[in-house]
């Protein structure tokens, strides 16, 4: 990964172009249930390697449910869910994670009783040598200096913004192929939202494949390459992020209409 640190945005795109399109995440016909109620009705999309793919939608559109379905956290059915050509369908969550997918969950969900350092280590818990991965830890602290100052604090005592940084750092510690971020801006002040998105720009430049869900569409679409608009569990629009940003439907979501 370090060789790619200096890659420019364009460089990442060239790399992405070299890949077969099936190398990223491919989702076809995903349906997800909450109890007996189906809330995601046959969603299909792709997250291409080295790109930022965004799921945009209102509260309740099914963004979180879609992500939970892909990660096996919610019962789901699909024609196809593959990551780097390997099928994830029907696998338990921990096995899906081992394919190189790390989640930054909605609501951050840091381990409140664990310290900042312990939280970061848990991100790497399954990786050989991950428990003492000083190199990646250094990268996380360079990206989020706030965390370096609070390594021994209980994560539950951090501010919302710091918890979001911790959740992102924890996912980085897994050294994943793909980062999945579920509403990283939720509940944060505009200043902190900008801070989080600056970090995402840096992560994109490092070559991570990123799948992002956001209600806060403007910033997300500025960052993303490709985007899908979700409405009541269906994809109603898709396209290049820059074009979608001008869509009236997306503007309506952003304004909360």
């Amino acid at each position: 990964m370090s060789s790619m640190d200096t890659n420019t945005r364009a460089g990442v795109h060239e790399r992405a172009g070299e890949h077969d399109q099936t190398q990223g995440l491919v989702v076809e016909g995903l349906t997800v249930r909450y109890g007996r109620v189906e809330v995601v009705h046959g969603v299909s999309f792709r997250a291409l390697p080295g790109q930022v793919t965004c799921l945009v939608g209102n509260n309740g559109a099914g963004k979180t449910t879609t992500i939970r379905g892909i990660l096996g956290l919610q019962p789901s059915g699909s024609r196809k869910v593959t990551f780097r050509g390997e099928s994830l369908a029907g696998l338990p969550t921990h096995a899906i994670a081992r394919h190189g997918i790390a989640l930054v969950p909605e609501g951050r969900r840091v381990f409140a009783d664990l310290t900042v350092l312990e939280n970061l280590r848990m991100g790497a818990v399954r990786r050989p040598g991950g428990w003492r991965d000083a190199e990646k830890l250094g990268e996380v602290f360079d990206l989020f200096p706030e965390l370096r100052e609070r390594t021994d604090s209980k994560a539950g005592l951090l501010s919302g913004g710091q918890q979001q940084m911790l959740a992102m750092g924890r996912a980085m510690m897994a050294r994943p192929e793909m980062l999945v971020l579920d509403e990283p801006s939720m509940g944060l002040s505009p200043v902190l939202v900008n801070r989080i998105y600056e970090a995402l720009v840096a992560l994109r430049a490092q070559g991570y494949t990123i799948l992002l869900s956001e209600q806060n569409a403007n910033l997300a679409l500025e960052l993303a390459d490709h985007a899908y608009v979700l409405e009541t569990g269906r994809i109603v629009e898709e396209g290049a992020a820059a074009e979608l940003a001008r869509s009236s439907r997306v503007q309506a979501i952003y304004l909360g209409a």
């Binding site: 338990p92 969550t93 921990h94 790390a102 381990f111 280590r121 399954r126």
Partner: protein, 291 residues
């Protein structure tokens, strides 16, 4: 005064055992959210198998205790395999109910193997009594207290300082999120059952010299350990120690100054009182649960 010291010592001695049983409840509760009613049977299996090995098979006492701990630990592993593997249970309520069934099976198997006989295990420190402040007590009393304190210290260090311990704490906080980092629910559950069973066996080995062991020694012990765990706050190691010692002393006071016939009632009164007035236990804090 002599009677009081006597009562206090015997209470602490048994209370130390309750504390170790309570720790086992806490470890499994933290990892799975379930109450493991096999916990008392682990104590029985640990104590009974050590005593049987020593008495019936003439195995040296230290070897007998080590083998008993090993046997019980395997039983813990089998419990996890039965509940989460074979039974595919995942919800705390389902696991809790099913542990009752496993407890009955373990008890039945122990009845068949022990042919309903009772067995006794001497103290590893010998049978001479100790004089403390005018009261006479067995050396096992002191050993049990030391044992309980050491177990609490060891568990605390384990949970704070080791990778596995930290992982188990993370599972206690948010097992779903832990799964998204590649740790399966069963891995953490399996370790919890292994640790809880080993704790049960240690408690059994500490208890056996104070009483006699039989196939039905476990059920009541399990309930008392559960009461101690609730008293101290389920899942809190220091709370388990305090809860266990307090319950042991309370029982001894009732037995010493009242009648031993009512001693067993104490645990249930404590359990009812704590569930009614302070369900989080003396040292527990309520925690928010996302649904």
């Amino acid at each position: 005064m002599d009677l009081f010291i006597q009562v206090l010592l015997s209470g602490l001695s048994v209370g130390a055992i309750y504390a170790i049983v309570a720790l086992g409840f806490g470890v499994i509760f933290n990892a799975t959210g379930a109450i493991n009613f096999v916990q008392g049977e682990y104590v029985m299996v640990g104590g009974l198998s050590a005593a049987m090995l020593y008495e019936a098979w003439d195995v040296p006492i230290f070897v007998a205790i080590l083998v008993a701990i090993a046997v019980t630990t395997v039983l813990g592993l089998l419990t996890e395999m039965g509940l989460l593997g074979f039974g595919r249970l995942r919800t705390p309520a389902a696991i809790t109910i099913a542990t009752i069934a496993i407890a009955v099976i373990v008890k039945g198997a122990a009845m068949l193997i022990s042919v309903r006989d009772t067995y006794a295990l001497p103290s590893v420190l010998g049978s001479e009594s100790l004089q403390i402040l005018g009261a006479s007590t067995s050396r096992q009393t002191i050993l049990n207290l030391v044992l309980a304190v050491l177990v609490v210290i060891a568990l605390t260090l384990f949970f704070r300082r080791t990778k596995l311990g930290t992982t188990l704490r993370a599972a206690a906080g948010d097992s779903e999120t832990l799964q998204t980092f590649g740790v399966s629910y069963r891995t953490t559950a399996r370790w919890a059952f292994v640790i809880a069973a080993a704790l049960g066996a240690v408690a059994g080995a500490g208890l056996a010299p104070l009483t006699v062991m039989s196939f039905d020694s476990g059920t009541l012990l399990g309930l008392k350990g559960f009461a101690a765990a609730m008293l101290g706050g389920l899942g809190n190691p220091q709370g388990a120690l305090a809860g266990g010692l307090l319950l042991g002393v309370a029982e001894a006071v009732v037995a010493g100054y009242g009648t031993s016939a009512y001693a067993d009632v104490v645990a249930f009164v404590v359990l009812l009182a704590i569930l009614t007035f302070k369900p989080t236990g003396m040292f527990g804090t309520a925690r928010a649960v996302r649904t």
